[in-house]
Amino acid sequence: SQTIHQWPATLVQPVGSPLSLECTVEGTSNPNLYWYRQAAGRGLQLLFYSVGIGQISSEVPQNLSASRPQDRQFILSSKKLLLSDSGFYLCAWGPPPPLAGVRETQYFGPGTRLLVL
């Protein structure tokens, strides 16, 4: 079965400091990978997605970047955090087309709570 890990679980960082959040997936190959941010009481905002190693697409212009150095590893980074970067960050994986039928969805990790002070 597939599992998805995120770390750290919680992070408190000062404004202007760098950020690195990591996500790894087990039990599948060549997954699509996604980074979302969820503000308190809000829906999920897609930040980045990746369909393969080194392939990153950005959905929202911002202070963040993403990288995929290995097939099942997805990293979210920032050089200098802003107060507005605070939130709950979720990594998700999904099977890639054409293997994915229309019924396939995305599966989420446990999330990282980031507080920028």
Binding site: G43, S57, P95, P97, V102, T105, F108
Partner: protein, 113 residues
């Protein structure tokens, strides 16, 4: 622009009081509608996939149904452990290697003992 709207934003029920959550979408020709459950401080947990109007899926006290414009998540005789935020998401039509899905803002369900 494709949109997914969930209502109500919050719902408080007494234990055993059945009700329904609504998810309406403007996407035409969607390629899948998904329901998730999210507990506070945790990632969303996948519950159901619906694809065709008239389709129904059940899991314990939850039943999801789909029409051409909306989906309902019916909860029958809920228990306090059913308290969570329920998220709806849709996959728009058209091929995309990214297989992106669009989320609603969720319904916060609270069940009082």
């Amino acid at each position: 622009e494709d949109q997914v709207t969930q209502s109500p934003e919050a719902l408080r029920l007494q234990e055993g009081e059945s009700s329904s959550l609504n998810c309406s979408y403007t996407v035409s020709g969607l390629r899948g509608l998904f329901w998730y459950r999210q507990d506070p401080g945790k990632g969303p947990e996948f519950l159901f996939t619906l694809y065709s109007a008239g389709e129904e899926k059940e899991k314990e006290r939850l039943k999801a149904t789909l029409t051409k414009k909306e989906s309902f998540l019916h909860i029958t005789a809920p228990k306090p452990e059913d308290s969570a935020t329920y998220l709806c998401a849709v996959r728009p039509p058209g091929y995309s290697s990214a297989s992106k899905i669009i989320f609603g803002s969720g319904t916060r369900l609270s069940i009082r003992p």
